[in-house]
């Protein structure tokens, strides 16, 4: 009986698989597929993991997910899934799923040193509010913070942004996406004046060349990688290049593998720019019509604290580089300075690293002039065992591919570029190369920043959940943007705080130095994923801080929290994500959350009921606030103006910000639900459709302003699989800035219409020489950025590089994927991948347990010399999914000074046998 049932099921799965990918099958087989699935309710969803945004179909029965499949109608993945697709169904059902609020208590009362004890939601929110008010009264809006996520649903990120910025008047909200793609964002804004890529994934099917820069696509973005491999099968001229610091799975599918030293990508890109000019391959008409040239300061530090007051003794030598740096020989050459002289440079522009000004083409040309083949090859060659001539030949081959005017080319990059002490620069440089060639904003020619999280774009960036942002690319430190936001949110003038808040690493530093003492974490695991973790773990547990963590599983962050709030996961709630190609995708609640678990959105709204306007819209001290129209160090009392607008001091933030008459007009139930439940609405006890109301309110910011989203209901239509914004007159925009595809282009065929930072002073490579500003609407910027050495490099003591990253089977900090028990056995512990000869030299062999030590801490791990990552001599790699091998205890918390994104790729370590 069992056997025949199994056989029947397998026939059904086979037939359904064939149908999903369009392999023709017999009528009998299709009947088998239908019968297998007949008792299941199917609905469309989107994968919860990486930023590719694959469509999946979800089958439920009796309140449980019973099957998932790649969505054949999804243009992103066309029926395919990678192994992570599997997790979508499995992650809900881990044995240690959190199902009730837990608070540290002793004798029935909150106690920081107490044990986690189950409490009711009311008890949880009551204590959370007491602690909030204590921190807020004492330290003001800067004394509290929120660490959010690129996995937040659009509505969750929006609600929290509104609560923090409009309600609490605090800009201390920042997503984990800061450490994922902030460098990409900063470069988008600086180069184009608007965030997110011009092109889309379809470029793969139009191109002749894919170059992966610091992106192990085969492991981190496997479905997209399959599209790349597929393109090569059908297109004989297709070439694939992998530019990497170690041999990885992406090398397997590549025609050309270029192994470089850490941070030398900046030099390599200048070599390409130089070659393009030398070979007369500049697309002069394009550059003249659509580009300007720019430069910025180079003495910008490394995003560390400027003081060593909190540093461990061993950290202090590197910490000192935040203040003053002696250039390496290569840096001097790259800056056009005499390499025989000592150049000691005060890092005077650490706080103004994003300054830039116009320069001429001749300045740019002079800037890249030192980056000759000889200089760059010697500097960048990453594999000591490769000959210099062989490496030079590869660089020339790379230049051939880029410079060939007939060859279409897509550059993909991820964390190798973004997690980089010069992450913004290197993002800008790849655009410089594409802009010089005019290879941009048309099918097949595309510089494309891949993302690592499912809604890094949709929520973190588009909603604007960063410490400096507001929705639709607006920022808190521009008065006009605050005005627009205050009007849309119906706030009294000057409610919003003009001072940029703390980014994620700074929130951790604030907890350590006492400037912040209350923090709420949602949909991420910062106490594992932020570098230099020993500092932050201690700050969480030893300082008088109150840490709230909303989580589905007992992650590291939950374990160091004072209060844990159990959350509903992905398909247990209504929501939406936006992927890396600007595609917004929404889904319905499919199954109920377990136990007392509730959506993050419900938690935000419930908490907002515990704070009144009188507590937040009074005068507030903001240390360091200096802005036109504000008294120094203060936000004004806006309560009187608020009362004129109809608000009352005793109104709660829930009433003032969320349960507005406009929002209540969206009734629940709604026909779009098609019988699906909504636990958020149910437990709020309301009759309005919270997720729809918030989506529409948010979408109002972008419509008519380059960021148009379609109406909520459209995304739920059976024939829609997400839409790429701007969606204008019902049509999505596949390629932006190109008149053929983008209705926002008003002047000419190509127009880089993004409006930010399009008026600058003019000067030369060393600085501006005029006060006068020039406007250049519609143009993109070609930046000159020099080579900069990593903030720390191996030396006689710490003698190996350590790079961290992701593996196919596990995702990020492993909070979810480690809960798939069989999978955890497949990849139980993170190993240190290193070169066999480096191991031998230290008297070690594979599978030896070793201590790995940096200036910041030490951990124990097993070494591997024959894994799928094969580092060259002097280099090692470890994934960061495993909390028992806590690699972020080792990593330096230096950041790109412009983007504030940490560099997880370059820490100096030493290893020795346990």
């Amino acid at each position: 009986m069992e056997l025949s049932r199994r056989n029947f099921l397998k026939s059904g799965v086979a037939a359904a698989t064939a149908m999903a990918v369009g392999v023709p099958i017999s009528r009998i087989a299709s009947v088998a597929a239908a019968e297998t699935e007949q008792d299941w309710r199917w609905d469309k969803g989107v994968c919860r993991f990486c930023g590719v945004g694959c469509g999946i179909m979800i089958a439920t029965q009796d309140g449980k997910i019973v099957a998932t499949k790649g969505d054949p109608d999804a243009p992103v993945n066309r029926g395919l899934n990678c192994v992570k697709g599997y997790f979508n169904g499995k992650i809900l059902y881990g044995k240690d799923r959190l199902t009730q609020p837990l608070m540290r208590m002793t004798d029935g009362r909150f106690d920081k040193k107490g044990k986690f004890t189950p409490v009711t939601w009311d008890q949880a929110f009551d204590e959370m509010a007491i602690q909030f008010k204590k921190a807020y009264e004492e330290k003001g809006p800067t004394g509290i913070g929120v660490i959010g996520s690129g996995q937040w649903l659009i509505q969750e990120g929006y609600a929290m942004t509104k609560l923090m910025k409009a309600g609490f008047r605090s800009n201390n909200i920042d997503p984990n996406a800061r450490n994922c793609m902030a460098s990409a964002v900063a470069a988008f804004m600086q180069v184009f004046g608007i965030d997110e890529p011009p092109g889309n994934y379809d470029d793969i099917e139009y191109t002749d060349t894919v170059v992966a820069w610091g992106a192990n696509m085969a492991e981190a973005h496997p479905v997209l990688w399959q599209r790349v491999i597929d393109r090569r099968l059908g297109h004989s001229d297709m070439k694939i290049v992998n530019i990497t610091t170690l041999r990885n799975m992406t090398s397997e599918g590549s025609d050309l593998e270029i192994i470089i030293k850490p941070n030398t990508d900046t030099a390599l890109l200048n070599y390409l720019a130089r070659e393009i000019i030398q070979r007369d391959a500049v697309n002069q008409a394009f550059v003249d019509a659509h580009c300007v040239f720019c430069a910025g300061p180079t003495d910008i530090g490394y995003g560390m604290r400027a003081t060593d007051k909190f540093a461990f003794e061993a950290e202090k030598d590197i910490q000192a580089r935040e203040v003053e740096v002696t250039l390496t020989r290569d840096e001097a050459i790259g800056l056009g300075l005499d390499p025989e002289q000592v150049h000691t440079i005060k890092q005077a522009n650490a706080a103004t690293a994003d300054r830039h000004w116009l320069v001429g083409f001749e300045d740019f040309k002079a800037g890249v002039a030192p980056y000759t083949l000889d200089f760059v090859a010697e500097l960048a060659k990453g594999d000591a065992e490769e000959s210099l001539d062989a490496f030079k030949a590869k660089l020339m081959r790379l230049a051939d591919l880029y410079a060939d005017p007939k060859r279409k080319l897509v550059s993909f990059w991820t964390m190798g570029f973004n997690q980089h002490v010069r992450g913004t620069w290197v993002n800008e440089q790849i655009y410089s190369v594409h802009l010089l060639l005019g290879k941009i904003a048309e099918p097949g020619n595309s510089p494309f920043s891949l993302t690592g999280q499912p809604s890094a774009c949709g929520t973190a960036r588009e909603v604007g959940t960063f410490s400096h942002r507001l929705p639709a690319d607006m920022v808190v430190n521009i008065a006009k943007h605050r005005d627009i936001t205050e009007q849309t949110w119906k706030l009294p003038p000057k409610t919003l705080n003009p001072k940029v808040g703390s980014h994620i690493t700074k929130i951790m530093r604030d907890l350590e130095d006492g400037s912040m003492s209350w923090v709420w974490v949602q949909v991420n695991n910062p106490f594992q994923h932020v570098a230099n973790a020993n500092h932050w773990l201690k700050a969480a547990r030893e300082n008088d801080n109150f840490i709230v963590v909303s989580d589905a599983y007992p992650s590291i962050s939950a374990k160091v929290a004072d209060l844990i709030l159990p959350v509903a996961m992905i398909f247990e709630k209504w929501g939406g994500y936006g992927n890396a190609e600007r595609r917004t995708q929404l889904w319905r609640e499919q199954v109920p959350p377990p136990g007392e678990a509730r959506s993050d959105l419900w938690q935000i709204l419930e908490f907002s009921k515990r704070i009144t306007l009188a507590e937040v819209w009074k005068e507030q001290a903001i240390p360091g606030l200096k802005d036109e129209g504000f008294e120094e160090g203060k936000l004004p009392d806006v309560m009187a103006a608020a009362q004129e607008m109809g608000y009352q001091p005793e109104m709660t933030l829930y009433e003032a910000l969320f349960e507005t008459p406009e929002n209540k007009a969206f009734a629940w139930p709604d026909p779009v639900s098609k019988g699906h439940d909504n636990h958020t609405v149910k437990h709020l006890g309301v009759d309005w459709f919270v997720e729809k109301a918030l989506f529409e309110e948010y979408a109002g910011f972008g419509r008519g302003h380059h960021h148009d989203l379609a109406p909520f209901d459209v995304y739920y239509q059976d024939d829609v699989r997400g839409l790429r914004w701007p969606v204008v007159d019902g049509k999505e925009t596949p390629w932006r800035f190109n008149a053929k595809y983008d209705p926002y282009v008003k002047n000419g065929e190509i127009e880089f219409y993004g409006g930010a930072m399009k008026e600058l002073t003019t000067g030369n490579l060393t600085g501006p020489t005029t006060e006068e500003k020039t406007k250049f609407p519609g143009k993109a910027k070609i930046f000159f950025r020099p080579y900069a050495a990593p903030v720390e490099s191996p030396d006689g003591n710490y003698d190996l590089w350590l790079c961290t990253g992701r593996l196919l089977e596990h995702w990020h900090t492993g909070t979810m994927t480690r809960r798939v028990p069989e999978l955890h056995r497949a990849m139980p512990a993170a190993v240190l991948d290193m070169n066999e000869k480096d191991a031998e030299e230290r008297g070690l062999k594979r599978q030896d347990a070793v201590w790995i030590e940096s200036r910041r801490g030490k951990i124990k791990a097993v070494i591997e010399t024959t894994g799928r990552n094969r580092p060259p001599r002097g280099y090692s790699f470890m994934a960061f999914f495993d909390e028992s091998v806590f690699v972020n205890k080792l990593c330096i918390d230096a950041t790109c000074p412009i983007s504030k994104e940490e560099d997880f790729k370059k820490t100096a370590i030493k290893i020795y046998k346990v």
Binding site: E2, R5, R6, L9, K10, S11, V13, A14, A15, A16, T17, A18, A20, V21, V23, P24, I25, A29, I65, V66, A67, T68, K69, G70, G79, L80, N81, C82, V83, G85, Y86, G89, K90, P222, V223, Q226, I229, D230, L233, E809, V820, E822, L823, R825, A826
Partner: protein, 92 residues
């Protein structure tokens, strides 16, 4: 028990050999083929995800395989039959 539907693509000329090689792998059954495009639909049955991933790697390692990716997952949680005949008794 996990059951997955996997799409395998090989050069059309290799489809017969590949079908044979796939069927020889433990837990793998070829269900549908499309000779003109070299596409093969297999069903993979495995006790654990570990085995499932190992099996997918084996499929990818077969000669001429250009693509092998999972499409469909069923979480077959049929309760164990506590009263079924234990394997060691059935063998005797």
């Amino acid at each position: 028990m996990n059951i997955s539907g996997i799409l395998v693509v090989v050069p059309p000329a290799r489809i017969e050999d590949a079908t044979r090689e796939l069927n020889a792998l433990p837990g793998v059954e070829v269900h549908h083929t499309e000779p003109s495009t070299g596409r093969i639909v297999v069903v993979q049955e495995a006790e654990t995800v570990e085995q499932e991933i190992a099996a997918l790697s084996r499929i990818k390692a077969l000669s001429g395989v250009m693509l092998a990716e999972m499409v469909y997952h069923v979480f077959d949680e049929t309760p164990p039959e506590w009263d079924a005949t234990p394997a060691e008794m059935a063998a005797s």
